[in-house]
């Protein structure tokens, strides 16, 4: 009897480990970035694009209003593509567009807006990309829909027709 206990324990352990690994084989190993929604927005201080005055996030984001914060840059090609959609959204009355100019040269950013139009109500600067990290951004472009200082929706990558419709639906 004494001899039998040990092999049984090893056998059971082996079976448990085998089942765990076998189940793990079927798990998807494709990494999808977590869209952190229903999270409070970070508080920060940044310089304004036009006047290079410093402004705090509390002054920008007020309660009971929808804000769309878009991270953009003049060197980013997808930002050019989504610009029309932003122009489209800027006509919405109960939505304020906030731009975060990410690691950009001021002159080329101004040219970019002159050429394609300026859909933003406020633009502030992030020359080192630190504010973008505070928001949990991966790069440009990225868009956040905000209400009551909470992130309602996060879009990684450029906007498209369907996303614009979805945003319009939410703010209505």
């Amino acid at each position: 009897m004494k001899i039998r206990i040990f092999p049984t324990i090893v056998f059971i352990l082996f079976v448990i480990i085998f089942i765990l690994f076998f189940k793990g084989l079927k798990n998807s190993n494709i990494y999808v970035p977590k869209a952190n929604i229903n999270k409070e927005i970070p508080s920060f201080k940044a310089k304004l694009f036009e006047s290079s005055e410093e402004i705090s996030s509390e002054e920008i984001f007020k309660e009971d209003k929808f804000y769309l914060m878009n991270i953009w840059s003049s060197w980013c090609v997808p930002c050019r593509e989504e610009h029309n959609f932003l122009e489209n959204l800027s006509t919405e009355k109960n939505l304020d567009l906030i731009g975060l100019n990410y690691k950009d040269d001021n002159e080329s950013a101004k040219n970019f807006l002159k050429k394609l139009g300026n859909p933003y109500d406020i633009i502030f600067l992030d020359p080192k990309g630190i504010i973008a990290i505070d928001w949990g951004a991966y790069g440009v472009p990225e868009t956040y829909l905000i209400k009551n200082n909470m992130i309602v929706k996060k879009i990684i990558g450029p906007l498209n027709k369907n996303l614009v419709l979805e945003i319009k639906e939410i703010i209505r």
């Binding site: 040990f6 352990l13 970035p33 973008a132 990290i133």
Partner: protein, 121 residues
């Protein structure tokens, strides 16, 4: 007295130098443990993307502000999830990963004990 002053001065100078070096080492250690989320299989330390460069600046800034290594990990985990860390922390998803080597070690030890020691007796 004059010599004492020089000795003190050099003492302070060397001390500043080493505290800077220590922070630099910590910065490298942290950035090596952070996954560059927009690259393939590279750490933030190795990568030169916009994302990684910003993270390097951020880690330095947080260290200057006096945050510890663990606090920086918590800050980043809160924003990007556990995936940003190369070294997974002990938790409900990773306990098996951490305990398995110990488990195998114990089983191996028992096998050896049984084969060589009990049998000898």
């Amino acid at each position: 007295m004059r010599y004492l002053r020089y000795i003190l001065l050099s003492f302070f100078l060397f001390n500043f130098n080493s505290s800077y070096a220590q922070q630099n080492d910590l910065e490298i250690k942290i950035t090596k443990n952070l996954r560059c989320l927009v690259c393939q299989g590279q750490s933030v330390y190795d990568s030169d993307t916009e994302f990684a460069n910003s993270l390097k600046i951020l880690v330095r800034k947080k260290l200057d502000e006096g945050l510890s290594e663990k606090q920086i990990y918590i800050y980043l985990k809160d924003r990007y999830g556990e995936w940003i860390l190369f070294d997974p922390e002990f938790g409900k998803n990773t306990y098996f990963l951490w305990l398995m080597p110990v488990l195998f070690f114990v089983i191996g030890g028992l096998v050896i004990f049984k084969l060589f020691i009990i049998r000898k007796n």
